[in-house]
């Protein structure tokens, strides 16, 4: 019996940019799409960010544009997958809102979680008041009060927090932190033009269009000082200022500086919420916990499990445009898969 596209269900788990984009694409192809989001709103991490690199586009605008028209997509916020069963063909997905869907295909767009910066104990996040994360700073930019920010004269950005670090089990580069740090460094200079801003980096990975310009602008226009050296240790002095130790590796000398604010560029960690699903469906994961696609080059959206697809940062750190492209690619893959059924 031939089924129409509308009679086929696709369940997308994760209502971030990847989930939204894929759901719209699949909806346009005529499938019945169920988009499940754990939080009380769609958008994932994008919803928490103020502005996006490299051009400073407001994240709200981007998100607003994406969610302006969701078509016939059936989307549920504050909803989790409570049970997942593999059927002969497709999957039975039971949601926390009581709904049970027979899914012909599953798309995981579960994204990432921000690295818990307090795990880098030497930086004292959660211990020293003036140490915050990139996400906290975005809150501040969005207008949410972050008392730690105060009126700083000396500000530091630490790149690679929880990335490229075997000690915390994340050997990979989180890809977006360099650009985020430079973006935030410029933004904070806009707020506090007299402040001295340092970026402590290991390698500046300015790979995208416009990123290098942003870096150049940070140097030339904003006078951000780049120190090549990973911060090794942070401590607090009597007045609550932060005493930072690093090596200025380009001169080969130890470097000391006292700061009023230190921003940790927390990287991307794999989303632990996806672990039970991965276990149930016996999906392969990589040693750092991210889901392993069938082939990172030729089948990046496919899993080892029939009818299960991936898009976005659930398979590793991605930028927003990459995530969106993957979402659209996954929609195409799912379409092909369902047409072959």
């Amino acid at each position: 019996m031939e089924l129409t596209n509308q009679q086929r269900n696709v369940v997308i788990i994760g209502g971030g940019p990847a989930g939204i984009e894929a759901s719209k694409a699949l909806d346009a192809l005529g499938y019945t799409v169920f988009l499940i989001e754990r939080e009380n709103r769609l958008g994932g991490h994008l919803g928490r960010w103020d502005r996006l690199f490299p051009y400073g586009t407001p994240a709200d605008d981007v998100l607003g544009q994406m969610t302006a028209s969701m078509g016939r997509v059936k989307w549920f916020t504050s909803t989790e997958v409570t049970q997942l069963n593999k059927l002969e063909r497709g999957y039975n997905v039971i949601l926390s809102n009581g709904l049970s869907v027979l899914a012909d295909a599953l798309l995981l767009t579960t994204g990432f979680t921000l690295f818990n910066a307090s795990k880098k104990e030497e930086y004292g996040y959660g211990i020293y008041d003036k140490v915050i994360t990139n996400a906290d700073l975005e809150d501040y930019f969005s207008g949410i009060p972050v008392p730690a920010v105060g009126n700083p004269r000396r500000i530091g950005f630490v790149h690679c927090v929880g990335s490229r670090d075997e000690k915390v089990g994340n050997r990979y580069c989180s890809k977006v932190c360099c650009a985020t740090a430079v973006k935030q460094a410029c933004e904070i200079k806009q707020q506090f033009p007299d402040a001295v801003v340092y970026c402590f980096y290991m390698d500046l990975r300015m790979f995208g269009r416009g990123y290098e310009d942003m870096y150049l602008e940070a140097q030339k226009k904003y006078g951000v000082i780049f120190v090549r050296g990973r911060v090794s240790e942070v401590s607090e002095d009597k007045d609550g200022h932060l005493f930072v130790k690093a090596e200025d590796t380009l001169s080969g000398k130890p470097l000391r500086v006292t700061l009023d604010l230190l921003v940790l560029m927390a990287g991307m960690s794999h989303n632990r919420a996806v672990d039970p699903i991965a276990r149930t469906l016996a999906l392969s994961t990589m040693e750092d916990g991210f889901l392993k696609p069938k082939d990172s080059l030729t089948a990046a959206q496919a899993s080892y499990c029939t009818g299960v697809f991936y898009a976005g940062a659930c398979t590793g750190p991605k930028t927003l445009p990459e995530t969106m492209a993957e979402a659209r690619a996954a929609a195409t893959n799912i379409h092909e898969y369902l047409q072959e059924q």
Binding site: D248, S251, V257
Partner: protein, 109 residues
Amino acid sequence: MIDFGYGISPSSAINLDKFDRTRFEELAREEPDVLKCMACGSCAASCPTAGHSDMNLRKVILLLGRGREDEALRMVSHCMLCGKCLIVCPRGINTRHLIPSVTKIYQKK
């Protein structure tokens, strides 16, 4: 006072807290390009003094930005002003004129 035969040595660390940025800022006003350096090392690699002296323009810029002025000036004194660095700099920094500007600004005490 007792002579123990050893003593306390000052730290070799760069202490940015003690670095008075006035002169560096003066340099940056005169030569705004100095801020554009991304420490690629092209200048040092192509320098005809490489291997013969410790001149290293990348380090000169860095050291000036870290308050190690004497060290930087010592390096600068080896410069022949040949301009090779100017040709190779990927950021288009006028490295050649940086040298006289550095001496001009840092010589006056």
